[in-house]
C-alpha cells in the first residue's frame, strides 16, 4: 500500500471536512499487556513472557448534504517494540458513503461483515483477517471496494467490486502464535496472473421475514485464506509460501429468533482449493434475562462446526475446525459499567484438541475500559496444523483503553 498517497488523501479529507464544518474526531487509544506463561514450542521463538504494546485508532468522520454523504478515515497502528512483526499500520477505513433512502453506495477502503454465528465466521469473506491482531479472525484489514446496496420490499441486494486484494498477515518465525513451519510472506503466490490486482466480485441478498433473518451470498475471486506451497530450497530450513487460489464460494446465513432462543446456521460451499467442499456452523443461543431479578442476563451458546476441506495445508487453507463443538457462556451484568464476560470451549470431537477462551470487560470511569482476554490451548495434536503451532502459546491480555 502506498502510504504517501493515503496520507495525502487523509490530509485532503481533513481540509475538505474543515471546509464543510461538520466533522468529528473520535477513536481509541489502548495499552495492551500480553503475557505468555509457557516456554515457546519452537527454538527460534522469543522466550520473552511479557509484551507491552500501544494501539491507536483515531477516527475521522465528516458529513454533509444533510448527512446523506460521509467521509470516514480510520487508520490503525500497533506499536510493539518487543515484537517488530506485530508492529503494524493499516488503514481500516478510508471511504465515501452516499446514502439515499432505498440505496447506498460506498467507495474506498471499508469493512463489511456477514454472518450470524459466534464461534466461527464462515460466510464472512469480504475483508482479510488481521491475524497479527488476534487469532479469532474478528480483526479485519481494510478492503478497497465499491459497494452498492439496494434496500427494498424484497430484502437488500448488495453488490461488491473488490479491485485489490490484501494479503493475510502472519506471525514471523520468532513470534508467538505462529504455525509449525515459518511462513515466507514476502514471496506470496497467486493463482491469478494479475496477482493482488485480480478484480473480485461478490453479491449478497439479505432479508428479515417475521422471525427469520436470511442471507445468501456468492463470492468469486481470490480466496482470503491462504493455502501453502512448501519451499525446500534450503533443506535445513523448510518454509511455507502463502498461495492465494481463485475460489468460488456460495454462502448461507440463517437465524430464527423466538423468545429467548436464537437458532443459527452458516454454511458455505467452496470450489478452488482442492476438491469443492462444504462447511457449516450450526447452533443456538439461549438467554435467561434479568436472572434472579438482579438485572443480569445469562446466555448459553452451543455450536457445531464441520469443515469438509482437505486437511493438507498444501491443498486447502488450514483451519482448526474440522469437526468441533463450541460451548460458551455469556454473562452481561447490565450495570452502569457494562460489565460482561464471555467464556468458551472449542473441543474437537475426533481427537484431543481443546481450546479455551475468555473475554471480560467493564468500564471503570467515563470512557475508560478495562478488558481481559485469555486463550488457553489444552491439547493440540500434531495433525491439527493451526492449533499444534499454538500449543505452547496460551496467553492472557490485559487492555486499558481510553475512548474519545
Amino acid at each position: 500500500m502506498n502510504w504517501r498517497a493515503c496520507g495525502l488523501a487523509a490530509a485532503l479529507i481533513v481540509v475538505a471536512a474543515d471546509e464543510a464544518g461538520a466533522y468529528e474526531w473520535s477513536g481509541m487509544l489502548a495499552f495492551d499487556n500480553r503475557v505468555f506463561w509457557e516456554e515457546p514450542a519452537f527454538p527460534e521463538q522469543r522466550s520473552q513472557a511479557y509484551y507491552p504494546s500501544l494501539v491507536m485508532q483515531p477516527e475521522l468522520r465528516a458529513d454533509w448534504n444533510g448527512e446523506k454523504d460521509r467521509f470516514t478515515f480510520i487508520p490503525f497502528l500497533r506499536a510493539e517494540p518487543a515484537d517488530p512483526q506485530r508492529q503494524h499500520l493499516d488503514i481500516r477505513e478510508l471511504n465515501w458513503l452516499h446514502a439515499a433512502g432505498d440505496w447506498d453506495v460506498t467507495v474506498g477502503v471499508a469493512k463489511v461483515f456477514w454472518g450470524v454465528t459466534e464461534s466461527r465466521h464462515l460466510v464472512d469473506i469480504i475483508n482479510q483477517s488481521d491475524l497479527l491482531e488476534d487469532i479469532d479472525r474478528e480483526q479485519k484489514l481494510g478492503q478497497p471496494m465499491v459497494n452498492l446496496n439496494l434496500i427494498g420490499e424484497y430484502g437488500t441486494f448488495g453488490f461488491y467490486v473488490l479491485p485489490y486484494f490484501r494479503e493475510q498477515t502472519y506471525q514471523d518465525r520468532r513470534g508467538r502464535l505462529r504455525f509449525a513451519l515459518p511462513i515466507d510472506t514476502d514471496r506470496a503466490r497467486y493463482a491469478s496472473a494479475r496477482e493482488e490486482w485480480h478484480t473480485d466480485v461478490a453479491l449478497r441478498w439479505s432479508h428479515s421475514l417475521a422471525s427469520w433473518d436470511i442471507g445468501v451470498s456468492y463470492f468469486r475471486g481470490t480466496g482470503r485464506e491462504s493455502a501453502f506451497d512448501l519451499d525446500l530450497g534450503d533443506p535445513f530450513n523448510p518454509r511455507l509460501v502463502p498461495r492465494y487460489d481463485l475460489i468460488r464460494q456460495t454462502g448461507l446465513e440463517l437465524q430464527h429468533t423466538s423468545g429467548p432462543w436464537l437458532l443459527k446456521l452458516e454454511a458455505i460451499s467452496r470450489a478452488g482449493q482442492g476438491k469443492r467442499f462444504f462447511a457449516a456452523t450450526a447452533g443456538f443461543e439461549y438467554t435467561w434475562f434479568d436472572v434472579l431479578s438482579r438485572g443480569a442476563d445469562l446466555g448459553v451458546l452451543a455450536e457445531c462446526n464441520h469443515d469438509g476441506r482437505d486437511a493438507n495445508p498444501l491443498v486447502a487453507p488450514p483451519v482448526p475446525y474440522d469437526d468441533d463443538v463450541f460451548l460458551g457462556l455469556r454473562l452481561s451484568m447490565n450495570d452502569a459499567d457494562d460489565s460482561s464476560v464471555l467464556a468458551g470451549v472449542l473441543q474437537d470431537v475426533d481427537q484431543d484438541a481443546t481450546f479455551i477462551s475468555l473475554k471480560a470487560n467493564r468500564r471503570f470511569a467515563t470512557d475508560w475500559i478495562l478488558e481481559v482476554k485469555g486463550r488457553h490451548f489444552v491439547d493440540a495434536p500434531p495433525d491439527d496444523f493451526v492449533l499444534h503451532g499454538y500449543r505452547r502459546d496460551s496467553h492472557l491480555q490485559l487492555r486499558l483503553a481510553r475512548y474519545f
Binding site: 447506498d104 474478528e138 417475521a210 429468533t257 423468545g259 438467554t287 447490565n334
Partner: protein, 262 residues
C-alpha cells in the same frame, strides 16, 4: 310536577350515560384520545441525555439519538432507532425496534466495531436499559392495543386536573402487574406514571416536566424523571429540540440500513 318529571328524566339520562361506559371502556377511551392526539406525526427525531443517579447522588451521563417512525398497519406498531453517542466506547451502537401488536417485537443491534447487524431476542422486557432505571419495556413505543385499561378517578394534579387510569400490560414477560397513569384532562399528556411490580408493590415513579407543543399539535416533555423506590436510584432523561415530519421512510428503519450508522 313538571319540574319533578324533568328531574326524573335527567336522573335517568345521567344514569344511562354513566352506565353506558364502564371504567374499562372509559379507560380505553382516554388511551385512544391520547393516541388520536398523537397521530399523524409521521416521524420524530430527538437527542437525549440520560443521567444515571445512584443512591448516594453520584451521576453518570449517556447521550443517545432517537428516531421514531409512525406505522399505521393493522398488526404493526411504530418503529424506533436508538443510537448511542456516549459513553464513547459504545458510540455508534444502535438498537432498532419494530413493534407488533400481537407478535413479538423484532429487535436488531448494530455493533460498529465489527460492522455487525445482530438480531436479538426481544423477550428482555424487564432488564435495565444501559444500567438505567428504565427497562426495555419502558422505552418501547407505546401501542394502545398492547394494554388493557381501567379508569379510576378524576383528581387535581398540581395546577391541572388529571384523569387517573390503571394500565395492565397485555404482552408476555412484563415486569409490571399494573401502571397507574395520571393524564391531564386538558391536553391528554401523561404527567406521572406509577409502576407496580408483579407482586403489586410500588416499584418506580416516572414524572414528566416541561411539556412543550410542537407543530401546534404534539406535546412533548423536556424531562422525564424515573425514581426507583426499591433501590433509591434514579434516571433523568433530558430531551433536546424534537423534530417531526423530517421525511424518514420505512427503509431508513430496515436492519440493512443500520450499517450506514458509522
Amino acid at each position: 310536577m313538571k319540574k319533578c318529571a324533568s328531574l326524573l328524566l335527567l336522573t335517568v339520562l345521567l344514569a344511562r350515560v354513566a352506565g353506558a361506559e364502564t371504567p374499562e371502556e372509559k379507560g380505553l377511551a382516554i388511551a385512544n384520545e391520547v393516541d388520536r392526539r398523537n397521530q399523524g406525526y409521521a416521524d420524530m427525531v430527538v437527542a437525549m441525555t440520560m443521567t444515571l443517579i445512584d443512591a448516594r447522588g453520584k451521576t453518570d451521563e449517556r447521550k443517545l439519538d432517537l428516531k421514531a417512525l409512525e406505522v399505521t398497519a393493522a398488526d404493526d406498531g411504530d418503529k424506533a432507532l436508538l443510537v448511542f453517542n456516549q459513553p464513547r466506547d459504545v458510540a455508534g451502537t444502535a438498537l432498532l425496534t419494530a413493534t407488533h401488536i400481537q407478535a413479538e417485537d423484532d429487535q436488531w443491534l448494530y455493533l460498529p466495531a465489527l460492522k455487525r447487524i445482530k438480531r436479538i431476542s426481544s423477550s428482555n422486557k424487564t432488564g435495565s436499559f444501559m444500567g438505567s432505571e428504565f427497562s426495555y419495556e419502558d422505552l418501547a413505543p407505546q401501542e394502545v392495543r398492547k394494554y388493557q385499561y381501567k379508569f379510576l378517578r378524576h383528581e387535581p394534579c398540581g395546577a391541572l386536573r388529571c384523569l387517573v387510569v390503571e394500565v395492565y400490560p397485555g404482552y408476555k414477560n412484563s415486569g409490571y402487574a399494573k401502571l397507574i397513569n395520571w393524564i391531564d384532562d386538558q391536553e391528554y399528556r401523561s404527567q406521572k406514571i406509577a409502576f407496580y411490580d408483579t407482586a403489586n408493590q410500588l416499584l418506580k415513579t416516572l414524572t414528566a416536566e416541561g411539556y412543550r407543543q410542537y407543530l401546534n399539535q404534539y406535546w412533548r416533555p423536556d424531562t422525564l424523571m424515573m425514581v426507583n423506590h426499591k433501590n433509591g436510584k434514579g434516571t433523568r432523561l433530558t430531551f433536546g429540540e424534537y423534530r417531526f415530519k423530517t421525511g424518514l421512510k420505512d427503509n431508513d428503519f430496515a436492519p440493512a440500513a443500520l450499517q450506514r450508522g458509522r
